[in-house]
């Protein structure tokens, strides 16, 4: 492949991203082997992986595709529930003891179902623009939460039993999903290695997508919808592609997250959780995948490390959201910042960010 300056910058950016993730994994694994890792950090490893995948996938929607989705936690909840049910069914019905196999199938199923839900939501929603799209994705997130709140699933007699609104399951079934109590009696089978592999998959998918024909089409729709249409780009198709890909990844992260604990409750995946992920994305930089990874990690670890900070976490997040937006979008402030840093920059180069 012929190398231009832009491509070289992009290649370096991708290498750094992958190197960072793989390096961190190796260091943490050796710490686990040496038992030098703190107990609280060890417990955080899988959730960190999940939040990284959530942040990177939401960045695909917000940063690359330019649509504000406020229902990302909804897809995570679909994945978490699906993962819990599939894993429970595999254990209780088909008696599959191999945890790795169960985990892989559960994560795949979580991704697929979240993708289907994403497609169903995307078809109507992506016709809308801007603020409307944001509010409708929020609405869908809340609808998903309301629905799982009245969902009952049990495993028994070699099959799954479903009931909705009222708990009407046969006697003696093993409850997998119990309405407002959520998904119960989950056997935790998630591993850090699985989380690491999921991050790698996410990075390969997202980074390769961004630097391809489809990715350029997605970015073109973001920058100027009418111009993209006039160039023969099918805007709905590419918006949909970004949205569904992100939903699949969020579903997989959700399955991993759900299978990391013994219960999953609907209130874990509220609008607040979507905002959390939004903060990761905004703080890491819209369209900047590496930034999402770093901010998701730091913002998950910090509250644990700094207990005092934990109380004010949401307050600080709110202020951060506002300040980052004002600083990056106000022309006067931006010009001022550019003047400050311009002596340190050789030339206005093509950004290494994936945007």
């Amino acid at each position: 492949m012929k190398m231009t300056k832009a491509k070289r910058v992009r290649l370096i950016y991708n290498i750094v991203t992958f190197a960072l993730v793989i390096g961190a994994f190796i260091i943490l694994q050796s710490m686990i082997a040496n038992k030098t890792i703190s107990r609280s950090l060890k417990g955080q490893l899988v959730p960190i992986c999940c939040w990284i995948v959530m942040a990177v996938s939401l960045n695909l929607v917000i940063g690359i595709s330019g649509e504000l989705s406020l229902g990302h936690a909804g897809f995570m909840s679909v994945g978490a529930y699906t993962g819990a049910v599939v894993s429970g069914a595999l254990l209780n019905i088909w008696d599959i003891q191999d945890t790795t196999l169960r985990l892989v199938i559960a994560i795949a199923a979580g991704g697929i179902l979240a993708g289907i839900v994403g497609a169903l939501i995307g078809i109507p929603v992506l016709r809308l623009r801007g603020d409307y799209l944001a509010i409708v994705t929020l609405a869908f997130g809340e609808i998903i939460r309301s629905l799982v709140n009245v969902l009952y699933i049990g495993a028994g007699d070699g099959k799954l039993h479903f009931s909705f609104l009222n708990k009407e399951l046969p006697e003696g079934v093993t409850m997998l999903v119990d309405g407002a109590k959520g998904a119960v009696k989950i056997k935790p089978i998630s591993t850090f290695a699985a989380g690491f592999i999921l991050i790698l998959i996410t990075l390969v998918v997202v980074l390769n997508l961004v630097n391809s024909r489809a990715g350029r089409a997605i970015k073109a729709c973001r920058d100027n919808r009418i111009a993209a249409e006039s160039m023969g780009v099918n805007v709905t198709k590419y918006k949909m592609m970004a949205f569904v890909t992100a939903a699949v990844l969020a579903g997989m992260a959700g399955a991993l997250y759900g299978l990391n604990s013994s219960t999953v409750v609907p209130t874990q995946f509220t609008f607040n959780q979507s905002i959390n992920v939004l903060v990761f994305v905004v703080l890491g930089g819209l369209g900047n995948v590496l930034g999402s990874i770093v901010s998701a990690t730091l913002l998950t670890v910090l509250p644990e490390v700094l207990r005092a900070f934990a109380d004010y976490r949401m307050l600080v997040y709110a202020v951060v959201l506002i300040l980052v937006m004002i600083f990056t979008n106000n022309p006067t402030i931006r010009a001022f910042v550019n003047r400050l840093i311009s002596p340190f920059r050789k030339k206005d180069s093509v950004g290494g960010e994936a945007r």
Binding site: I62, G66, L68, L70, P124, V125, R127, L128, G130, D131, Y132, A134, I135, V136, L138, A139, F140, E142, I143, S146, L147, N149, V150, L165, I226, F271, I275, L278, V282, Y312, M314, L315, Y317, A318, V319, V320, L321, I322, M325, I326, T328, N329, N330, P331, T332, I333
Partner: protein
């Protein structure tokens, strides 16, 4: 009778939505932004009124006026500090800022008043039961509906007959042209936020009079639903906010009564989605053409 009961409850809830929706619709019409924090201004208004009644021993009317004053100030401050610097920015940036502001207000409330729900005191608004034929209803219901009607009439007169009202209409039609005509756009937008926030305080008191549990998240759900109502009626249209709010309230109460209590919220959002798909400009909204 049960049907009538539900209808009146629906109208009452819808009236609250309508008053909140006014704040959304006016701001959207004039500043072309979705003020996500509007629902939380309601919550702050309710807390201020609560403090006035509970701690400061103010008479109810004064407490409400204080709440309105604080909210007005709050609305103008939010606009000036957070939204004005982003006047030319992409809608994505403005929306994220508004979400941040919503969070900020909730967390400030959490720090001041704590997470424990407060029970909103009884006032003249909700301390009696009215009987009408075989119907009995809380006075809050009647008050809410009446307030809604008064607000609508006054606001319509204001928009069509005062100088500021006309300026608002100009800015909403074409900000650039309004500026060239000597209208102070920033001041007009501030005034819009002031009016919307004062109405939010009223809505907060009415909301807590009917549903007397007050906590930092009290405003978010009604806020989102009221936005739904504004979209339903046609965002930017004041009669639309009224119609959308009332209809949505009725739909919600009937949905909860006849379909399922748990799925009431889901039903409201389903309405939003259907409306946006079938008629994205809402019931009374004007179609907008993108200039190419």
């Amino acid at each position: 009778m049960i049907f009538l009961d539900n209808l009146i409850n629906g109208l009452s809830l819808g009236s609250i939505y309508a008053i909140i929706a006014l704040g959304y619709t006016m701001v959207y019409g004039i500043a072309k932004m979705l003020n996500f924090a509007h629902g939380d201004v309601i919550m702050i208004g309710a807390y201020i009124a609560f403090c006035g009644l509970q701690y400061w021993g103010l008479p109810p009317v004064v407490a409400i006026l204080v709440a309105m004053a604080v909210c007005t100030l709050l609305g103008v401050t939010i606009e000036g500090l957070a939204y004005r610097p982003l006047r030319q920015a992409a809608s994505l940036a403005v929306l994220i800022t508004a979400i941040g502001m919503s969070y900020l207000l909730q967390n400030i409330a959490l720090m001041i008043w704590g997470a424990n729900p407060k029970s909103f005191p009884r006032t003249f608004i909700n301390n009696s039961i009215l009987r009408l034929g075989g119907l009995s209803m809380s006075s809050a219901t009647v008050f809410t509906i009446l307030t809604n009607i008064v607000v609508m009439v006054v606001l319509n007169l204001f928009i069509s007959h005062t100088k500021l009202g006309k300026a608002m209409r100009c800015v909403s039609e074409d900000r650039g042209a309004a500026e060239l005509m000597g209208i102070k756009v920033n001041r007009t937008i501030s005034a819009t936020f002031a009016i919307g926030s004062a109405l939010a305080a009223i809505a907060g008191v009415l909301l807590c009079s009917s549903y007397p549990i007050l906590q930092p998240t009290t405003g978010s759900m009604p806020g989102i639903k009221a936005f739904t109502a504004a979209v339903f009626g046609g965002i930017g249209s004041i009669p639309g906010a009224m119609l959308g709010g009332v209809l949505l309230g009725v739909i919600e109460i009937f949905g909860k009564a006849y379909i399922s209590t748990e799925l009431g919220d889901a039903l409201v959002f389903a309405v939003l989605i259907v409306v946006l798909l079938v008629k994205p400009t809402g019931l009374l909204g004007k179609p907008v053409r993108e200039k190419v």
